[in-house]
Amino acid sequence: MKRVILVADDSPTIRKFVSVALTVKGYDIISCSDGMEALEKLPTNKIDLLITDLNMPNVDGFELINIVRNNSDLKELPIIVLSSLGSNDDIQRGLECGANSYLIKPFDPKRVLYEVSKYLN
Protein backbone atom coordinates (compact mmCIF):
# COMPACT_ATOMS: atom_id res chain seq x y z
CA MET A 1 0.00 0.00 0.00
CA LYS A 2 1.27 3.47 -0.92
CA ARG A 3 2.28 5.75 1.95
CA VAL A 4 0.47 9.09 1.96
CA ILE A 5 2.31 12.37 2.58
CA LEU A 6 0.56 15.68 3.24
CA VAL A 7 2.48 18.73 1.97
CA ALA A 8 1.46 22.12 3.41
CA ASP A 9 3.07 25.12 1.71
CA ASP A 10 1.64 28.37 0.34
CA SER A 11 4.06 28.27 -2.60
CA PRO A 12 2.63 26.17 -5.47
CA THR A 13 6.11 25.57 -6.87
CA ILE A 14 7.44 24.17 -3.58
CA ARG A 15 4.41 21.84 -3.41
CA LYS A 16 5.28 20.70 -6.90
CA PHE A 17 9.02 20.29 -6.10
CA VAL A 18 8.18 17.98 -3.20
CA SER A 19 5.60 16.14 -5.28
CA VAL A 20 8.08 15.58 -8.15
CA ALA A 21 10.74 14.33 -5.72
CA LEU A 22 8.46 11.89 -3.89
CA THR A 23 5.88 10.56 -6.37
CA VAL A 24 8.65 9.02 -8.48
CA LYS A 25 9.60 6.95 -5.40
CA GLY A 26 6.04 5.69 -5.03
CA TYR A 27 4.60 8.01 -2.38
CA ASP A 28 1.10 9.49 -2.67
CA ILE A 29 1.09 13.25 -2.21
CA ILE A 30 -1.80 15.38 -0.95
CA SER A 31 -1.12 19.12 -1.14
CA CYS A 32 -2.62 22.11 0.65
CA SER A 33 -1.74 25.81 0.75
CA ASP A 34 -2.02 26.62 4.47
CA GLY A 35 -2.23 25.20 7.96
CA MET A 36 -6.01 25.51 8.14
CA GLU A 37 -6.43 23.36 5.02
CA ALA A 38 -3.90 20.87 6.42
CA LEU A 39 -5.93 20.55 9.62
CA GLU A 40 -9.03 19.82 7.53
CA LYS A 41 -7.23 17.15 5.50
CA LEU A 42 -5.35 15.41 8.32
CA PRO A 43 -8.31 13.62 9.96
CA THR A 44 -10.13 12.74 6.72
CA ASN A 45 -7.16 11.16 4.91
CA LYS A 46 -4.89 8.46 6.25
CA ILE A 47 -1.74 10.58 6.37
CA ASP A 48 1.57 8.84 7.17
CA LEU A 49 3.79 11.93 7.26
CA LEU A 50 3.45 15.71 7.20
CA ILE A 51 5.81 18.08 5.38
CA THR A 52 5.11 21.69 6.29
CA ASP A 53 6.34 25.21 5.66
CA LEU A 54 6.39 27.64 8.62
CA ASN A 55 5.34 30.94 7.00
CA MET A 56 1.76 30.30 5.90
CA PRO A 57 -1.51 32.24 6.02
CA ASN A 58 -4.42 31.46 8.38
CA VAL A 59 -2.67 28.81 10.50
CA ASP A 60 1.14 28.95 10.28
CA GLY A 61 3.50 25.97 10.51
CA PHE A 62 4.37 26.43 14.20
CA GLU A 63 0.68 26.44 15.16
CA LEU A 64 -0.04 23.49 12.87
CA ILE A 65 2.71 21.39 14.51
CA ASN A 66 1.47 22.39 17.97
CA ILE A 67 -2.10 21.36 17.15
CA VAL A 68 -0.96 18.04 15.64
CA ARG A 69 1.24 17.24 18.66
CA ASN A 70 -1.64 17.97 21.04
CA ASN A 71 -4.08 15.75 19.15
CA SER A 72 -4.21 12.24 20.59
CA ASP A 73 -4.82 10.65 17.15
CA LEU A 74 -2.05 12.56 15.37
CA LYS A 75 0.64 13.14 18.00
CA GLU A 76 2.90 10.36 16.66
CA LEU A 77 2.76 11.66 13.06
CA PRO A 78 6.28 12.33 11.72
CA ILE A 79 6.68 16.01 10.78
CA ILE A 80 9.32 17.48 8.49
CA VAL A 81 9.66 21.26 8.37
CA LEU A 82 10.65 22.74 5.01
CA SER A 83 11.35 26.44 5.46
CA SER A 84 13.48 29.38 4.40
CA LEU A 85 13.53 30.53 8.05
CA GLY A 86 17.07 29.69 9.07
CA SER A 87 17.75 31.58 12.29
CA ASN A 88 18.63 29.62 15.44
CA ASP A 89 15.46 30.90 17.13
CA ASP A 90 13.21 29.69 14.30
CA ILE A 91 14.90 26.29 14.13
CA GLN A 92 14.76 25.89 17.91
CA ARG A 93 11.10 26.95 17.97
CA GLY A 94 10.24 24.53 15.18
CA LEU A 95 11.94 21.65 16.98
CA GLU A 96 10.41 22.59 20.34
CA CYS A 97 6.96 22.60 18.72
CA GLY A 98 7.58 18.97 17.82
CA ALA A 99 9.05 18.80 14.32
CA ASN A 100 11.11 15.65 13.75
CA SER A 101 13.29 17.11 10.98
CA TYR A 102 14.03 20.61 9.73
CA LEU A 103 15.16 21.30 6.17
CA ILE A 104 16.24 24.69 4.88
CA LYS A 105 15.13 25.97 1.45
CA PRO A 106 16.55 25.58 -1.15
CA PHE A 107 16.48 21.88 -0.33
CA ASP A 108 18.04 18.86 -2.02
CA PRO A 109 15.27 16.47 -3.19
CA LYS A 110 17.52 13.56 -2.16
CA ARG A 111 17.69 14.89 1.38
CA VAL A 112 13.88 15.16 1.49
CA LEU A 113 13.66 11.60 0.25
CA TYR A 114 16.18 10.48 2.89
CA GLU A 115 14.22 12.16 5.70
CA VAL A 116 10.92 10.72 4.45
CA SER A 117 12.30 7.19 4.19
CA LYS A 118 13.81 7.55 7.68
CA TYR A 119 10.27 7.74 9.10
CA LEU A 120 8.29 5.66 6.64
CA ASN A 121 10.51 2.70 5.77
Binding site: T13, K16, V24, G86, S101, L103, K105
Partner: protein, 229 residues
Protein backbone atom coordinates in the same frame (compact mmCIF):
# COMPACT_ATOMS: atom_id res chain seq x y z
CA UNK B 1 2.94 124.49 31.68
CA UNK B 2 0.33 122.02 30.56
CA UNK B 3 0.74 123.02 26.90
CA UNK B 4 4.56 122.53 27.25
CA UNK B 5 3.98 119.02 28.48
CA UNK B 6 1.60 118.34 25.62
CA UNK B 7 4.14 119.57 23.10
CA UNK B 8 6.87 117.34 24.64
CA UNK B 9 4.46 114.45 24.40
CA UNK B 10 3.77 115.23 20.73
CA UNK B 11 7.52 115.46 19.97
CA UNK B 12 8.13 112.17 21.73
CA UNK B 13 5.37 110.51 19.69
CA UNK B 14 6.83 112.06 16.50
CA UNK B 15 10.21 110.62 17.50
CA UNK B 16 8.63 107.19 17.88
CA UNK B 17 6.91 107.63 14.51
CA UNK B 18 10.24 108.58 12.91
CA UNK B 19 11.92 105.50 14.40
CA UNK B 20 9.04 103.37 13.11
CA UNK B 21 9.54 104.76 9.58
CA UNK B 22 13.32 104.19 9.80
CA UNK B 23 12.65 100.62 10.94
CA UNK B 24 10.04 100.28 8.17
CA UNK B 25 12.61 101.39 5.61
CA UNK B 26 14.96 98.66 6.86
CA UNK B 27 12.28 95.94 7.05
CA UNK B 28 10.65 96.57 3.64
CA UNK B 29 13.48 94.89 1.62
CA UNK B 30 13.35 91.89 3.99
CA UNK B 31 9.57 91.61 3.50
CA UNK B 32 10.11 91.93 -0.24
CA UNK B 33 12.63 89.09 -0.08
CA UNK B 34 10.14 86.94 1.85
CA UNK B 35 7.44 87.66 -0.77
CA UNK B 36 9.87 86.80 -3.58
CA UNK B 37 10.84 83.60 -1.75
CA UNK B 38 7.17 82.66 -1.27
CA UNK B 39 6.38 83.28 -4.94
CA UNK B 40 9.34 81.02 -5.85
CA UNK B 41 8.46 78.29 -3.35
CA UNK B 42 4.69 78.04 -4.02
CA UNK B 43 5.11 76.68 -7.59
CA UNK B 44 7.82 74.35 -6.25
CA UNK B 45 5.46 73.02 -3.57
CA UNK B 46 2.79 72.68 -6.24
CA UNK B 47 5.29 70.66 -8.25
CA UNK B 48 6.07 68.43 -5.25
CA UNK B 49 2.36 67.93 -4.68
CA UNK B 50 1.83 66.96 -8.33
CA UNK B 51 4.81 64.59 -8.20
CA UNK B 52 3.45 62.89 -5.08
CA UNK B 53 0.05 62.57 -6.76
CA UNK B 54 1.69 61.16 -9.89
CA UNK B 55 3.86 58.70 -7.93
CA UNK B 56 0.91 57.57 -5.85
CA UNK B 57 -1.10 56.78 -8.94
CA UNK B 58 1.85 54.84 -10.45
CA UNK B 59 2.61 52.73 -7.35
CA UNK B 60 -0.30 50.26 -7.82
CA UNK B 61 0.98 49.66 -11.35
CA UNK B 62 4.48 48.86 -10.01
CA UNK B 63 2.92 46.50 -7.52
CA UNK B 64 0.92 44.78 -10.25
CA UNK B 65 4.02 44.47 -12.43
CA UNK B 66 5.94 42.79 -9.61
CA UNK B 67 3.07 40.33 -9.17
CA UNK B 68 3.13 39.67 -12.92
CA UNK B 69 6.87 38.87 -12.77
CA UNK B 70 6.27 36.45 -9.87
CA UNK B 71 3.37 34.89 -11.73
CA UNK B 72 5.31 34.45 -14.99
CA UNK B 73 8.29 32.92 -13.15
CA UNK B 74 5.99 30.58 -11.29
CA UNK B 75 4.28 29.37 -14.47
CA UNK B 76 7.64 28.82 -16.21
CA UNK B 77 9.08 26.97 -13.18
CA UNK B 78 5.97 24.82 -12.99
CA UNK B 79 6.30 23.92 -16.68
CA UNK B 80 9.96 22.95 -16.24
CA UNK B 81 9.03 20.83 -13.22
CA UNK B 82 6.36 19.04 -15.26
CA UNK B 83 9.03 18.16 -17.82
CA UNK B 84 11.44 16.98 -15.11
CA UNK B 85 8.65 14.90 -13.56
CA UNK B 86 8.01 13.23 -16.94
CA UNK B 87 11.78 12.72 -17.35
CA UNK B 88 12.01 10.94 -13.97
CA UNK B 89 9.20 8.58 -15.05
CA UNK B 90 10.91 7.91 -18.40
CA UNK B 91 14.22 7.24 -16.65
CA UNK B 92 12.47 4.84 -14.32
CA UNK B 93 11.00 3.01 -17.34
CA UNK B 94 14.45 2.89 -18.99
CA UNK B 95 15.98 1.48 -15.79
CA UNK B 96 13.30 -1.26 -15.61
CA UNK B 97 13.80 -2.04 -19.31
CA UNK B 98 17.56 -2.29 -18.86
CA UNK B 99 17.14 -4.72 -15.97
CA UNK B 100 14.90 -6.91 -18.17
CA UNK B 101 17.44 -6.84 -21.01
CA UNK B 102 20.34 -7.68 -18.75
CA UNK B 103 22.11 -10.99 -19.44
CA UNK B 104 25.65 -12.36 -19.20
CA UNK B 105 26.72 -10.96 -22.58
CA UNK B 106 25.58 -7.38 -22.18
CA UNK B 107 25.91 -6.88 -18.42
CA UNK B 108 28.82 -4.45 -18.84
CA UNK B 109 26.92 -2.36 -21.41
CA UNK B 110 23.82 -2.35 -19.18
CA UNK B 111 25.98 -1.21 -16.28
CA UNK B 112 27.30 1.71 -18.34
CA UNK B 113 23.75 2.62 -19.43
CA UNK B 114 22.53 2.46 -15.81
CA UNK B 115 25.31 4.85 -14.85
CA UNK B 116 24.16 7.25 -17.58
CA UNK B 117 20.58 7.03 -16.26
CA UNK B 118 21.86 7.77 -12.74
CA UNK B 119 23.79 10.77 -14.03
CA UNK B 120 20.68 12.16 -15.76
CA UNK B 121 18.71 11.62 -12.53
CA UNK B 122 21.36 13.49 -10.54
CA UNK B 123 21.46 16.35 -13.04
CA UNK B 124 17.66 16.59 -12.94
CA UNK B 125 17.80 16.77 -9.15
CA UNK B 126 20.35 19.57 -9.40
CA UNK B 127 18.03 21.43 -11.80
CA UNK B 128 15.17 21.19 -9.27
CA UNK B 129 17.43 22.69 -6.57
CA UNK B 130 18.35 25.58 -8.89
CA UNK B 131 14.70 26.12 -9.79
CA UNK B 132 13.92 26.81 -6.14
CA UNK B 133 15.42 30.24 -6.74
CA UNK B 134 11.89 31.06 -7.98
CA UNK B 135 10.41 30.54 -4.51
CA UNK B 136 13.15 32.59 -2.85
CA UNK B 137 12.83 35.50 -5.32
CA UNK B 138 9.02 35.36 -5.04
CA UNK B 139 9.38 35.90 -1.29
CA UNK B 140 11.82 38.77 -1.82
CA UNK B 141 9.48 40.38 -4.38
CA UNK B 142 6.55 39.95 -1.99
CA UNK B 143 8.63 41.79 0.60
CA UNK B 144 9.29 44.64 -1.90
CA UNK B 145 5.56 44.76 -2.67
CA UNK B 146 4.81 45.03 1.02
CA UNK B 147 7.23 47.96 1.24
CA UNK B 148 5.62 49.64 -1.79
CA UNK B 149 2.19 49.24 -0.17
CA UNK B 150 3.48 50.96 2.98
CA UNK B 151 4.86 53.89 0.92
CA UNK B 152 1.55 54.04 -1.00
CA UNK B 153 -0.40 54.27 2.26
CA UNK B 154 1.87 57.05 3.60
CA UNK B 155 1.64 59.04 0.35
CA UNK B 156 -2.13 58.56 0.22
CA UNK B 157 -2.54 59.93 3.73
CA UNK B 158 -0.26 62.86 2.84
CA UNK B 159 -2.30 63.55 -0.30
CA UNK B 160 -5.49 63.25 1.71
CA UNK B 161 -4.26 66.07 3.96
CA UNK B 162 -3.19 68.21 0.96
CA UNK B 163 -6.40 67.36 -0.89
CA UNK B 164 -8.48 68.47 2.06
CA UNK B 165 -6.85 71.90 1.85
CA UNK B 166 -6.97 72.22 -1.93
CA UNK B 167 -10.12 70.26 -2.68
CA UNK B 168 -8.28 67.89 -5.04
CA UNK B 169 -9.22 64.31 -5.91
CA UNK B 170 -6.99 61.71 -4.20
CA UNK B 171 -5.79 58.79 -6.38
CA UNK B 172 -6.81 55.50 -4.82
CA UNK B 173 -5.66 51.92 -5.40
CA UNK B 174 -8.25 49.82 -7.13
CA UNK B 175 -7.68 46.14 -6.23
CA UNK B 176 -9.66 45.17 -9.35
CA UNK B 177 -6.81 46.62 -11.41
CA UNK B 178 -4.73 43.58 -10.36
CA UNK B 179 -5.71 40.67 -12.54
CA UNK B 180 -7.12 37.58 -10.86
CA UNK B 181 -4.16 35.53 -12.01
CA UNK B 182 -1.67 37.98 -10.49
CA UNK B 183 -3.38 38.01 -7.13
CA UNK B 184 -3.46 34.19 -7.09
CA UNK B 185 0.28 33.99 -7.42
CA UNK B 186 1.18 36.70 -4.92
CA UNK B 187 2.27 35.69 -1.42
CA UNK B 188 -0.32 36.53 1.21
CA UNK B 189 0.48 39.54 3.33
CA UNK B 190 3.00 38.68 6.03
CA UNK B 191 3.61 35.09 4.93
CA UNK B 192 6.84 35.80 3.11
CA UNK B 193 10.33 35.75 4.54
CA UNK B 194 12.09 39.01 3.63
CA UNK B 195 15.42 37.43 4.64
CA UNK B 196 14.99 34.46 2.29
CA UNK B 197 18.27 33.86 0.46
CA UNK B 198 19.21 31.53 -2.36
CA UNK B 199 22.15 29.89 -0.63
CA UNK B 200 23.41 26.60 -2.05
CA UNK B 201 26.05 26.10 0.65
CA UNK B 202 25.27 23.41 3.22
CA UNK B 203 26.40 25.65 6.10
CA UNK B 204 22.86 26.49 7.28
CA UNK B 205 21.61 22.92 6.93
CA UNK B 206 24.66 21.66 8.86
CA UNK B 207 23.78 24.05 11.68
CA UNK B 208 20.19 22.80 11.64
CA UNK B 209 21.38 19.19 11.72
CA UNK B 210 23.56 19.97 14.76
CA UNK B 211 20.58 21.56 16.53
CA UNK B 212 18.35 18.59 15.62
CA UNK B 213 21.01 16.22 16.95
CA UNK B 214 21.33 18.21 20.21
CA UNK B 215 17.56 18.22 20.54
CA UNK B 216 17.38 14.46 20.02
CA UNK B 217 20.22 13.91 22.52
CA UNK B 218 18.42 16.00 25.13
CA UNK B 219 15.24 14.05 24.58
CA UNK B 220 17.17 10.78 24.92
CA UNK B 221 18.81 12.03 28.13
CA UNK B 222 15.39 13.00 29.49
CA UNK B 223 14.02 9.55 28.62
CA UNK B 224 17.02 7.87 30.28
CA UNK B 225 16.54 9.99 33.41
CA UNK B 226 12.88 9.10 33.49
CA UNK B 227 13.61 5.36 33.33
CA UNK B 228 16.40 5.64 35.91
CA UNK B 229 13.90 6.90 38.52
Amino acid sequence: MESKNNMENVFSKLGDLKQFFVFGQKIVPVIQKIIDFMSDVVPLLENVNNSIQDSTSKIPKASTQINSVTSANEIATSEILDIIDAMFLDLSTIRTGLEELKNEENSEKIKVLNEVVSKIENDSSRITISLQVQDITAQQLASVNHLIDSVQNKLSSLLFELGKQQDRPIPTFDPASVSEQDSDYAFSDGTFNENARYDRSTEKQDLVDTLVLENTKTSQEEIDKLFAK
